[in-house]
């Protein structure tokens, strides 16, 4: 672990140096929404650091887009010619928040176990994650309950670089060789951090951890226990399910949700095979060809979703829950049954 100091006035010089050899994606506003968009310089430091301002979509979109063409096919005589769309070169994701970095780490595990998904990995391997630790969480944040932030553990390998806002400068924590290469793009901008900067970092993390608003997510462990021991009644699931609109929004904006469907678009002699986000909220997600649906009722689907996120994944697979506490499901849910509301309901 190497630690440096980068002065805020030097950020754009760094970005300029990086952008000469690779794409730099930074939070940018289109109308009033925030997207990760390519930038040459002039990064908006208010979006980059300070109060947690999350883009509507997690950076999951950069590794698993809403839809992507997997291959194109063209009939050539009795055979088909297949072409795979080219993937762009390396990109630095500057200012991705801790929760979203955790989400990508989570997806990394999913997309390499049993089967290594080449489409995921060719995007993922091209990304360098420069995470921004959150000094000030906002209303919907509950990452502190989900190991998703507000700061990432310096010793874990989720990020390439972690930036900590020290007011006039950033503390730059660099672990990976990919991260080191970014610093070497313009090493003069980086001074070695002294121990006082590390002390400040610890104080900031402590302050941030204590500034989450009182929130029902503190009942996360109770909810996990109750859901795992099958103590939640079917009536509770039905009640929660009745508020769900099956929109799929919670899955789409969730940094950890990894489900996709596939389809063909075929026009005459040519076409393409593509995949798109799918959601376990949808009744068609598990409906069988016969018409029978093992999860036909909304309450059943709701149960499956939260059992997977809060129990199955936690106990049987990864040792952590399928939620990073970004709070996006609160924003996206028309039925007001995002993760914190459900957790609070389940503990009763």
């Amino acid at each position: 672990m190497d630690r440096y100091i980068l002065r805020k006035e030097d950020v754009n010089r760094w970005v300029e140096a990086l952008a000469r050899t690779q794409e730099v994606l930074a939070p940018t506003r289109v109308e009033k929404e925030i997207f990760f968009a390519p930038t040459q310089m002039a990064v908006d430091l208010n979006l980059l650091s300070g109060t947690a301002t999350l883009p509507y979509l997690p950076a999951k979109d950069l590794v698993l887009p809403h839809s992507e063409n997997l291959f194109h096919f063209t009939r050539k005589g009795g055979d088909y010619e297949l072409t795979v769309p080219e993937e762009k070169k390396t990109a630095v994701v500057l200012g991705i928040r801790s929760c979203d970095t955790s989400g990508i780490y989570w997806l990394d595990k999913f997309y390499q176990e049993n089967f290594s998904d080449c489409y995921y990995w060719r995007r993922r391997n091209n990304l360098i994650l420069v995470t921004m630790a959150c000094n000030q969480p906002v209303k919907n944040c509950f990452c502190v309950c989900c190991e998703g932030g507000p700061f990432l553990d310096s010793e874990r390998d989720e990020f390439d670089i972690q930036l900590v806002d020290l007011q006039d400068s950033y503390l730059v924590e660099c672990k990976s060789s990919k991260g080191k290469a970014l610093i070497e793009a313009n090493p003069k901008l980086f001074a070695k951090a002294d121990p006082s900067a590390v002390k400040t970092r610890e104080a900031l993390e402590e302050k941030s951890r204590n500034s989450f608003q009182p929130d029902p997510t503190s009942y996360m462990s109770t909810a996990i226990r109750r859901i795992t021991s099958n103590a939640v009644t079917p009536e509770t699931w039905t009640e929660l399910g009745e508020k769900c609109f099956d929109c799929g929004g919670c899955a789409f904006v969730c940094p950890c949700c990894s489900c996709f469907g596939v389809g063909y678009l075929n026009e005459g002699e040519k076409g393409c095979h593509y995949r798109f986000w799918d959601s376990c909220d949808y009744s068609g997600f598990t409906r069988e060809v016969s018409g029978h649906n093992p999860r036909g009722e909304k309450g059943e689907r709701f149960k499956r979703r939260f059992f997977h996120k809060l129990s199955y994944q936690y106990l049987k697979r990864d040792g952590r829950i399928g939620c990073v506490g970004c709070g996006r499901c609160i924003t996206a849910c028309p039925g007001e049954v995002g993760m914190p509301t459900v957790v609070e309901r389940l503990r009763k």
Partner: protein, 583 residues
């Protein structure tokens, strides 16, 4: 690089703000706008998957003309020239009233305005109507009777969450329109009384305080009699901000819709307050099409009259909607097939295109600029995120050329220029020319003004019989699964399963009758009888049967010719009392 274009969802009448995300000229995804007053960061499953139908491979990409039994591709000039000749020929032989023109809630305000000018000024026919004749025309006529022409901004989706009470007519109005359903849930959380009126629901979700098990057409009588309703609940419907939410596509007949809205208006505590009326639709520009004059002027024929067996209409110009799926009687479809000339301008290959003589390809909303008026009365700009597919062209280019082929002229040019014309010509639409339309929240029409003497209407009595079943024939002509935009989205196509032609019956009732799955039942009403396969359904209440109206032959067997709504002058199928026995 992904491009994010701010625009409006075009799946239904709510008008959510969204970004369409494109790359390399292809739609790749969408996200909702968090700052738009309706969507506020949320979408329904249709909205979230809208990008899929933007990639449809079943689009019309070139003009087609009939050649024998099939169609052949042609150029725009040839297609428009041929259309002009056919129309001129019919006018020359039978007069302008031999032509009918059908506009659509799937066209922008600008396009509908031009379609109405084409009918009235270029062709000179009064036979002008919308594809919603058998659905939302009833509710819109009722709103017209109450608020006059230029209905105004009669509802507010964001304000619904502050309602003291909301009457939801049909659970689809809550479930299928999530921006509205979301506010209903929020109102419930703030202590509002939520009432569901639905005869086809065996039970209501937990946030409904009251379930009134009466079909919409009989609801005014049930409300007046305070049947099944706890004391005090109805009083809340008179409080300021009380809401009435219904699906306009299936509320008919008009007298019932009028009586229902009147019920709330008459109960209001203060004369200055009007209830929050949300007339929802499964099409995006219902209000706009209606307000822009897509309906028959005095002396003109409506869609049903144009397609009546004795009608003198010989040629029909149909815009943007697959008319063949919205006709409630088999005879109307037969007449459509026999017309001398059918011009169909639309986006997808479908059954109406198959029977047309000329087919013109139009761009999707996401491929062209135009304004839509939401169910609230919010005029919003739908911006193009993609180029028009193939050779498709917008009506603002095509109709002036068609007019020219007919020896007349029509205003054309960019959408903004047509909006200026609309602002001058259409009452209540002055704001369509202003900068507000281009803002994220759009421009709201003027507040509604109640007619000085709101009309009254007779109410249909509640049907009751101890020994008979209640047969409901919900209007499913405009159901989601019959919407082409759904069929062109793989995720949604799976979500909205096509219904089987069967009669739904309560599971316990089916057991009592000892019906086996799929076994046929014979049902008999005063108007006819029908043998049909049964489908047991836990969600259907006891002693109730449900038969979707789009199974035309089945419905006509048991319900005969239906009833004619005197206001819309079109057919509807009221609920009936029937006997049931094994076939």
């Amino acid at each position: 690089m992904i491009k994010n274009t701010p625009t409006i969802c075009s799946f239904c009448s709510c008008g959510c703000g969204m970004f369409v995300r494109t790359q390399d000229g292809e739609a790749r995804g969408v996200i909702p706008s968090t700052t738009h007053p309706v969507s506020q960061g949320r979408l329904c499953h249709r909205g979230w998957n809208r990008f899929q139908n933007l990639r449809s491979v079943n689009r019309l990409v070139k003009p087609l003309v009939r050649e024998g039994e099939g169609m052949k591709e042609t150029g725009w000039n040839e297609a428009l020239k041929l259309s002009g000749e056919k129309i001129k020929d019919l006018i020359g032989r039978h007069g302008p009233e031999s032509i009918g023109v059908i506009g659509s809630p799937w066209l922008s305000n600008e396009d509908n305005y031009l379609v109405s000018l084409l009918a009235r000024q270029v062709i000179g026919t009064k036979n002008l109507d919308g594809s919603y004749r058998f659905g939302a025309a009833a509710a819109l006529s009722a709103l017209n009777q109450l608020f006059g022409e230029g209905i105004g901004a009669v509802g507010s989706i964001p304000a619904l969450k502050e309602s003291p009470a909301v009457l939801v007519v049909g659970r689809d109005a809550h479930r299928d329109f999530s921006p509205v359903g979301s506010r209903v849930v929020q109102a419930f959380q703030q202590g509002a009384q939520i009432i569901l009126a639905d005869a086809s629901a065996a039970k209501a979700d937990h946030f409904y305080k009251t379930l009134i098990p009466v079909p919409a057409d009989r609801l005014p009588a049930a409300l007046a009699a305070k049947r099944d309703i706890p004391l005090g609940v109805l009083d809340l419907l008179g409080k300021p901000g009380a809401g009435l939410v219904f699906v306009a596509d299936q509320l008919g007949p008009s007298a019932s819709a009028l009586a229902l809205i009147n019920y709330l208006i008459e109960r209001r505590a203060s004369a200055k307050d009007l209830p929050n009326l949300l007339a929802l639709s499964r099409s995006p520009n219902l209000r706009g099409a209606w307000d822009l004059g897509i309906r028959p002027p005095a002396g003109g024929l409506n869609l049903e009259e144009m397609l009546a067996p004795e009608s003198k209409v010989k040629g029909l110009l149909v815009f943007a909607e697959d008319l063949s799926v919205h006709l409630p009687k088999a005879a109307l479809l037969e007449k459509l097939k026999k017309l001398d000339f059918v011009l169909w301008a639309g986006r997808f290959k479908n059954d109406t295109a198959k029977l047309a003589h000329v087919v013109l390809p139009l761009p999707l909303f996401a491929e062209s600029e135009g304004t839509l008026t939401s169910c609230e009365g919010r005029i919003q700009l739908s911006r193009p995120a993609l180029s028009p597919r193939g050779e498709s062209r917008g009506l603002s280019e095509v109709l002036p050329e068609l007019a020219q082929a007919l020896g007349k002229s029509l205003p054309g040019g960019p959408a903004a220029a047509i909006r200026k014309e609309i602002g001058k010509a259409v009452p209540g639409y002055e704001k369509i020319t202003g900068p507000e339309v281009e803002s994220e929240a759009g421009a709201l029409l003027a507040p509604p003004r109640l007619a000085s003497a709101p009309p009254k209407s007779a109410v249909l009595p509640v049907l009751e019989s101890a020994d008979k079943f209640l047969l409901l024939i919900p209007n499913t002509l405009y159901a989601w699964e019959r919407n082409r935009m759904i069929a062109e989205s793989p995720v949604l196509y799976i979500e909205y399963q096509a219904e089987r032609p069967a009669l739904k019956m309560n599971l316990q009732d089916a057991k009592d009758f000892k019906f086996r799955p799929g076994e046929k039942a014979k049902i008999r009403s005063e108007r006819g009888e029908l043998q049909v396969a049964l489908q047991a359904d836990e969600g259907v209440p006891r002693r109730t049967l449900v038969l979707s109206s789009h199974f035309l032959n089945l419905v006509e067997s048991v319900a005969g010719k239906g009833e004619i709504d005197p206001v819309t002058r079109s057919v509807y199928f009221p609920s009936l009392l029937v006997t049931v026995e094994k076939a």
